[in-house]
């Protein structure tokens, strides 16, 4: 900070805090703020209360919630479909392929549509599950 006088010690300490806040990002920033006794979510709310009208704040919250849901959907799957025997998995794969060919809603491009191993089959079914094409029991979703 430029100044025309020498900073007092108190100002130097506050300046140090300010520099630290400005230099940190992400989890390190949150950790530092918490160490100062400031809740990062509370800070966001107080900022939004001043800068945004309720409509925009609500939209931002919806966006944050959608992003959180998206992140959660990337979490490891505990899907039972992946524990089925290979014959059952191939049956599901076949059903999905038929549906996709019939509806033309999407294109299966991965590995040039070839399933060469059990791992390929698991990856395919996992992707179908994440995309919402099938449920955890392997049933096609409408």
């Amino acid at each position: 900070m430029e100044t025309d006088r020498e900073l007092t010690f108190r100002e130097e300490l506050l300046e140090e805090i300010q520099q630290e806040i400005l230099s940190l990002e992400g989890p390190a920033l949150d950790e530092y703020l918490l160490a100062l006794g400031m809740d990062p979510n509370d800070l966001l709310e107080s900022f939004d209360a001043v800068f945004q009208d309720p409509e925009i704040a609500a939209k931002r919250r919806q966006f944050a919630a959608a992003r959180r849901r998206s992140r959660e959907s990337q979490a490891p799957l505990s899907a039972s479909v992946l524990s089925f025997d290979p014959a059952k998995k191939r049956e599901i794969h076949s059903a999905v392929t038929k549906k996709v060919d019939a509806t033309g809603d999407m294109t299966i491009a991965a590995r040039n549509r070839r399933i060469e191993s059990d791992d390929d089959l698991d990856s395919f079914l996992e992707a179908c599950l994440r995309l919402g094409l099938i449920d955890e029991s392997g049933k096609l979703k409408e």
């Binding site: 007092t8 108190r10 806040i21 920033l29 100062l36 900022f47 009208d53 409509e55």
Partner: protein
């Protein structure tokens, strides 16, 4: 937001980290002023949205600069008002004036000594403690270097660590 100007729209592009930083900065800078953190944010927002402003196009830079400058102006103005009002009260009042109004601020030296003492109390870094003691004796940098055998880099590193310890006083409300 009813104002759809590019400047108003730019506020929506601030990241979560930037919004947290601005709110935190406002809280830190509100200390020692007559303003609340929200007042600083409101003032910064008004400056950003002022169509006549030539402050720049980077919303985060302008807002953080405005928070700093509004707090700094308030601190200067308050110090002046306290001095002037204090003198006027003494002259004008027939009753005994409120001692709080007449109380002088801790001068920088007293305040510095208090803060150094507080840091010393919580610190477990021997080099920082040494520095605090020397500063308390009003030692100059040259004297500190001579006394400790540190070079300038080492001295600055210890000072930096001292300030980090000092920052931990914030949570206790001592900063």
């Amino acid at each position: 937001m009813t104002d759809q100007s590019p400047k108003a729209a730019a506020l929506l592009t601030l990241t979560a980290d930037q919004r947290k930083k601005l709110a935190a900065l406002a809280r830190v800078k509100a200390r020692g002023t007559t303003l609340e953190a929200d007042d600083l944010l409101q003032g910064a927002k008004a400056r950003w949205l002022n169509p006549d402003s030539t402050a720049g196009n980077d919303a985060f830079e302008v807002l953080s600069g405005a928070v700093n400058s509004i707090a700094s102006n308030d601190r200067r103005r308050s110090a002046t008002v306290r001095r002037v009002e204090g003198k006027r009260l003494v002259a004008a009042s027939v009753d005994t004036p409120d001692p709080i109004e007449l109380a002088q601020d801790l001068g920088p030296t007293q305040d510095d000594a208090y803060l150094r003492e507080q840091i010393y109390r919580i610190c477990d870094d021997e080099e920082v403690k040494t520095l605090l003691l020397l500063l308390d004796d009003n030692a100059t940098r040259a004297e500190i270097l001579a006394e400790t055998g540190w070079d300038v880099t080492n001295y600055e590193t210890v000072r930096k660590r001292m300030k980090k310890w000092g920052a931990s006083l914030y949570k206790e409300g001592k900063l």
